[in-house]
Amino acid sequence: MRAVLKYTALTLFAIPWVLVPIWLVVVNSFKPAGEAAELGLGLPRTWAIAENYGIVLDRGGYLTGLVNSLKVTVPIVVAVVFLGAAAAWAFGRSRSRWLQAAYFVMGLSILLPPSIIPTVYLLRALSLDGGSLGYVLAMTGCRLGIVIFLATGFVRAFPRDLEDAAAIDGASRPQVFVRILLPLLRPVLFVGGVILIINVWNDFFFALFLLQGSANATLPLSLFQFASGTLQSLNWNLVFAHVLLTTLPLVAVYVVAQKRVLAGLTEGALKG
């Protein structure tokens, strides 16, 4: 009886919290502009799926945005995960005072917000402003800290016997890293990677300052430009079509990896 009550309450909460927002986006992205302007939850009286999505793909810069988002997300995630794991190994094992000081700076970079304006200044000085490469470097530098911090805790909690034994058997350091460290760190790197993907894919603030011109625009930027382009009154059908297409790649990945994502986040996040 209590379980029935609990799940009824949860369902009643999930309807406005999850279901209605998603439904609003989906159903209104199928309507013509005038009908979508009513922002109702009913089914479309006239269907305009092909027109709406056609316009978003054509004028909304969606495909360019998709390519650009992939072009920055993949390198950032790969760089943060692998460079972070390598650094965590060093920070976890070395007793050098210099490295411990560096580790403290990594910790600071988690807590303190990135200084965006000097970053623009710096990238300009390096002639890297406005493009993907500068954005990737800046984002990597600001996101490494959290992965290093989580992974270093993991390394420290783990005895070094395995690594020593492998070294005695003649394994080189890179071999020890690939065969022992990476498998050991897999849970924490997975969790870090998931949060990072969500974070980078959805980043708007950094992109707004660091990426110039629609040729470099990632999906959030192209969504914003598209929505702001019709500022007088939003074309809700088109905005929602863009929102749906922008969110879809992440949702698709999530549906496939759902079990591991949830399990990883509930079990691996706070350990170490």
Binding site: P21, T140, A167, L219, P220, F240, T246, T247, L270
Partner: protein, 284 residues
């Protein structure tokens, strides 16, 4: 043995150290300088000008309001997010098939970008939108000074609640079952068990979540950009919103001063909070 050789560790950490130094630490230090410098699009030369940027922002009635808005936003966002997430975590703590379905559903908003979340709720909360027609009222949630800030903070909280729920579930599941059982044997009811056992044991997760949500919300920008743009009037004009405006108008020094203010707020919030919660954690 090779593995004990100290110098040999450096190459492993070096790429990360270089990237964090150049792209986090250097901008951070430069910001301290720029915040106290005259630097505009009209005069590219950057010269020390003391507190002039802050004085200008205060004279224009921008700074005090932005700080108030940002702090209120952060507190509201943190409160909503942690209340919802902790409640959901308590309800969905046990790993069963049905709970997994609910966890998975409540995680969905986390995948949506804050910008998109802003557009979605702007649609739901429009004067003639679904929320008002359900409640049978007509209210411009985002257009009225009395509700705009709370609603924007709510949208931000909505976006992140799924992730925070999972961190709370991890925290709840790390509480030893024996502790709860012995409390039950001693005659503690559900509320007493929550207050005396669960809540103190949840301290690490609570520390993490309160700090993360507060600090994150101090950098608020995306949701505001998608919904109110800072309005009505200046009621949702948080520090980063003013920063972007100053930057857009070519006042780079003032913009840096606003960025520096965010950093100061983060330090002022995070340091005592982490210290206090850590102490409670040990005492609890």
């Amino acid at each position: 043995m090779v593995m004990r050789n100290r110098a040999a560790w450096l190459p492993w950490a070096l790429p990360s150290i270089v990237l964090v130094t150049v792209f986090f630490l250097a901008p951070f230090l430069l910001n301290v300088r720029f915040a106290f410098s005259s630097w505009t699009s009209f005069r590219a030369e950057i010269t020390w000008n003391g507190l002039e940027n802050f004085r200008t922002l205060i004279d224009q009635d921008l700074l005090a309001n932005a700080v108030t808005v940002t702090v209120l936003y952060a507190i509201l966002c943190m409160a909503i997010q942690n209340t919802v997430s902790l409640s959901l975590a308590l309800a969905l703590q046990r790993t069963s098939r049905i709970n997994t379905v609910f966890r998975s559903a409540f995680f969905l908003p986390t995948l949506i970008s804050p910008l998109a979340a802003g557009y979605i709720w702007r649609g739901l909360l429009a004067p003639d939108g679904a929320v008002n027609s359900f409640l049978g009222i007509e209210w411009a949630w985002l257009g009225e000074p009395s509700t705009a800030l709370a609603v924007v903070a709510f949208i931000d909280a909505w976006k992140w609640s799924g992730l925070i729920t999972l961190v709370y579930i991890a925290g709840l599941n790390s509480i030893p079952k024996s502790l709860l059982e012995s409390a039950t044997v001693d005659g503690a009811g559900p509320w007493t068990r929550f207050r005396r056992v669960v809540f103190p044991m949840l301290a690490p997760a609570l520390t993490f979540n309160v700090a993360v949500t507060l600090v994150g919300a101090l950098s608020a920008y995306d949701v505001i950009a998608a919904t109110t743009g800072g309005g009505p009037g200046d009621h949702t004009r948080a520090l980063n919103v003013v920063m972007r405006q100053q930057w857009g108008q070519g006042f780079f020094g003032s913009a840096s001063a606003l960025g520096f203010t965010v950093t100061l707020l983060v330090i002022a919030t995070a340091v005592p909070l982490v210290w206090w919660l850590r102490r409670r954690e040990v005492a609890g």
